[in-house]
Symmetry: C2
Subunit: 317 residues, 2 copies
Amino acid sequence: MSATTKTTELERILAGDARAVARAISKVEDNVEGAAGLMKSIFPHTGRATVVGVTGSPGAGKSSLVDKLAMLYRSRGERVGIVCVDPSSPFSGGAILGDRIRMQTLGLDPGVFIRSMATRGHLGGLARASVDAVSILDAAGFEKIIVETVGVGQDEVEIVKAADVSVVVLVPGMGDDVQAIKAGIMEISDVFVINKADRDGVLRTEKELESLLTLAVRPDGWEPPIVKTVATESKGIDELAAAVERYRDFQREGRVSLERRASIARWRILELLRERLLARAVGGEGADAQLDALAHEVAEKRRDPYSAVDEFMDRSD
Amino acid sequence: MSATTKTTELERILAGDARAVARAISKVEDNVEGAAGLMKSIFPHTGRATVVGVTGSPGAGKSSLVDKLAMLYRSRGERVGIVCVDPSSPFSGGAILGDRIRMQTLGLDPGVFIRSMATRGHLGGLARASVDAVSILDAAGFEKIIVETVGVGQDEVEIVKAADVSVVVLVPGMGDDVQAIKAGIMEISDVFVINKADRDGVLRTEKELESLLTLAVRPDGWEPPIVKTVATESKGIDELAAAVERYRDFQREGRVSLERRASIARWRILELLRERLLARAVGGEGADAQLDALAHEVAEKRRDPYSAVDEFMDRSD
């Protein structure tokens, strides 16, 4: 690249340059100087991709399902970004454990970009960083972006809610916790998948899910379909892609209100605000040393956590 | 109760009055006026209970396991508190779905206190409220407090880390996600349980776990035991209780450093600080209306989330 054709960071991202995309995601993940500016410049170029959020309990086979869905999109000539969010993992970057298998099938394809997002530690920001990564991939021209979460905690639910289409993956015979899961994710799911549908108990799970669905009428009138898959054998993937597309069409017809998007935007603003406020509070001179001292006082039971926060806030005010 | 023997809220909690305990937990959950003062007065009375944190993926049979462990403790004459944390659930209070079954076996026993903690919405605070609930039960004289999480997200990991003894529950044959889970929870687990140990694949799961454990040497020298259980048939529960007790003894011998407790304290302070800062920022006059307006601007793509936060913070400064 000569000096006269020097391209900016933004231009390289918009051109879909994988290395520029990777660097940009690292930037927002580490929340370094310039990350906010970059995101501001990226935002106007977002909104073209279809973002598919995939959640469900560990063991449901989400990774295989996501891989097969990605391969289907690839076979149709679409570029696919995969963001894998694992709040319980201390690892970050390109290749955490499960990714090694994934990389063998998808990693060599230049039309696929895979990124794992792990915990950001006590200061938080994983949800914000994950959604920012999606925006970067969107601006970089990936037609389909799949956001996969490993867990089913609060952050993951919010991340999946922020997608255009939310897919919740269940498996037959989950036993005594299945009711609890369903209660929480019922409202966020646009498409249900029963994976490992060659197992015993699939009919029962389907019936239970159907009866729960009849109880939960959505304000937008959408009736979430139930798709049965066996991801490891590539069964049902076409049907899943079709269900995702149907909901996307439903959205495009304008039946999904501005209120849903405003609610996602509000969440993004609050996440960012929370992170900024905490960073500012603990970033001051001597703040970290004071935090440590207070933590030790609490650990030794010489002080309670509430008084410790009073003390800390008095200082930073 | 006559006027001369009028007892304070704190006295009733310390006496183990179930209604006072329930009210206190609601108070910290809703973070109402007086909640901070109450927690400050409670803190000096904590530290006597053994707090057992139980996590693992949905479907691992955690609820059954927790119930059976609670029954065992009851049979030994100990009072048991159970705090069930479900960040994906919009429900809170006494009786969410899964609890109905639980209540039939344990709920009528006055020596057992069961409480579900659900999401606190966008403003967060679930982890803080859950840990506060444990402190309240501790002060109320419950000898054993079991904190069970439904999911395995960041919050849940932190909540379980804050317990005296952390138990991670796996099941045989979890498939492709098992590696990912193990990576994240490896460092937080003091005791491993392989539940549903009458299923196929138990030996393989055990071997995988053992080989992972040989790679992860803990700084305190503790070697986390693996206990096999079939909770629904009450198998292995004695062994689980013994493993919990062994780690508790190990801690009592002083081999668990002040640093672990200081790290937990630091996390509690940060959680509380985060919540306070956000509440203060969005609690001002007109703040909510401004947030709504900004969220709509972002939803309509007239503004990016980062600029929206700049705008909001300028205002509140």
